[in-house]
């Protein structure tokens, strides 16, 4: 079985090997997916039973989550009580004391326009997996953090909160429109330790080479893990387009590694379950450089290890240290997390 470094045309390789069976075709028609996606799910999950569990989980809804902003709120329980008085039903998240999950999607639109929201007393997320990257990276008061592709700022403001507005987060995004949203959220939430830079994050090492002590790369992706909140993603991305994301993600991860100081960590995440955007990106990067290792990551939700084989491509053993979140296993949006260390 070849490793990824031995495959020069990944698109051609996958195209030839992704066979859409009659069952995959039937399920793609029934659930509205592109047929190649269902064939991939069988390859990733192993059994049709698991594939059905995943497809059914994607048909469900995702409970929104709020994060109380302790930079502005002294006692988060008072904020939660206030929201309950207004009619929202909140549920604790055991692994995030400043966070709460809404019991349903009802009334969520208004949560984004309450006075408390406008004042920056909380941040609103579509699902709880987005809370994990800042918590796992866990930046401290003295860290110099790079947040690549940072807009609209959920993770930037969360890291600033964990850092108690100390140290610094350099947050970048390429889009002018999304940059406005990022700035608005940073100001709304009284975040004072951030430098916002509108640039292509691939340019960052030319400005800050080996400068940061921690890097978060929540990479732009197909969003294949967010089908519950955006069903259009069932049919949005072709295999060719998926590999365009793959190439961008490889470049961004290489930039992240060039921007971090030797001995320090990078957390790579996506809201996608596509191996092309996750394990194959990590494998491609670590096979091309000798200064990178994968560190274990252990998110506090049920998860599975990164996959080791995909359409006859051998994926390095240490990929098992990365974590995959599937909606039917984790009760979250589909997500991928992998911690790397530059040597």
């Amino acid at each position: 079985m070849p490793g990824l470094e031995e495959i020069s045309d990944l698109y051609g390789w996958l195209k030839r090997r992704i066979k859409v069976s009659r069952k995959a075709l039937r399920l793609s028609n029934e659930f509205g997916y592109r047929p190649y996606m269902i064939a991939r799910y069988k390859e990733m999950l192993g059994t049709w039973n698991e594939v059905m569990n995943l497809l059914q989980a994607f048909e469900g809804s995702l409970n929104p989550v709020i994060r109380c902003n302790s930079l502005k709120v002294r006692d988060c329980s008072r904020l939660f009580n206030r929201l309950e008085e207004l009619g929202y039903t909140l549920k604790e998240i055991p692994w995030c004391v400043e966070c709460a999950e809404l019991n349903s999607n009802e009334g969520v639109a208004s949560l984004g326009s309450l006075h408390e929201f406008l004042l920056g007393l909380y941040y609103l997320y579509r699902g709880k997996a987005s809370l994990l990257p800042p918590m796992l990276l866990n930046p401290g008061h003295k860290d110099r953090v790079l947040d690549m592709a940072a807009a609209p700022g959920g993770k930037t403001t969360h890291m600033a909160q964990i850092m108690m507005n100390k140290g610094v987060v350099v947050a970048t995004d390429i889009s002018r429109r999304r940059m406005r949203a990022l700035r608005s959220n940073v100001e709304r939430m009284s975040v004072h330790n951030v430098v916002l830079v509108r640039t292509d994050a691939r340019n960052i090492p030319s400005i800050y080479r080996a400068y940061f002590t921690k890097v978060l790369l929540d990479a732009p992706c197909s969003g294949e893990g967010l089908i519950m909140v955006d069903p259009s993603r069932k049919a949005k991305t072709s295999l060719k387009e998926l590999l365009i994301f793959h190439n961008l993600q490889v470049e961004l991860l290489n930039s992240a590694l060039d921007a971090v100081m030797p001995g320090h960590t990078i957390l790579y995440t996506t809201c996608s379950i596509a191996p092309e955007e996750n394990e194959l990106v990590i494998a491609k990067v670590i096979s091309s450089r000798e200064d990178t290792v994968i560190e274990p990551v252990d998110p506090p939700v049920p998860h599975v290890k990164g996959i080791r084989e995909y359409f006859n491509i051998e994926i390095p053993e240490e990929m098992g240290r990365c974590a995959r979140l599937y909606p039917h296993i984790s009760g979250t949006e589909g997500f991928f997390l992998c911690m790397l260390r530059r040597l």
Partner: protein, 187 residues
Amino acid sequence: MVEAVYKFFNGALPMEEVEGLLTGYTPLICEGVFREAYLLSKDVLEPVNILLKSGKIPYAAGMYVGRLRRREPYFIPSTDFLQYVYSSLGRVFKALIVGREGLKPFLYGKDVLKASVRKCIPPIKKSDIVGIVGEDEYVYGLGLSTIENCNEISSLRRTDPVAINIFDVGWYLRGGTEAREKKYRIE
């Protein structure tokens, strides 16, 4: 920057208190469509300097203090900076305390009417920028005073405006955005 902040509060804050608020920060002035000011901590200053040396500019950095102007009002603070001042000093001044029923229309861009003003805290004079503060002591926005002093409120009708909406925290949600082409210098 110290002088602009000192003048803004009409002497309600002694100069040493203003200096105390800004201690440990380096001002960053942005010259563009507007003249905007930021305060940078030591940790934030270093990557900003590296960025500037590379010929690039930050989109924003540190704490946004507000706009500096060449004519009155010479300084329009950000709601975040005003909140920082009130929270750091533990007191609210140069502000109108507004009830929840008045904050709702204010957050849709409406003016503050006499009926919703719970308290007027001097120093306030006509055409001054004043903090619009809720009974929860959070800053909801900024208004342009229509009154010469707090005593004048008693002579107004319930529906008379006391402050014209300049900025409120609902502004971005309503779709407010502005191009910010910038030139920076560190003072």
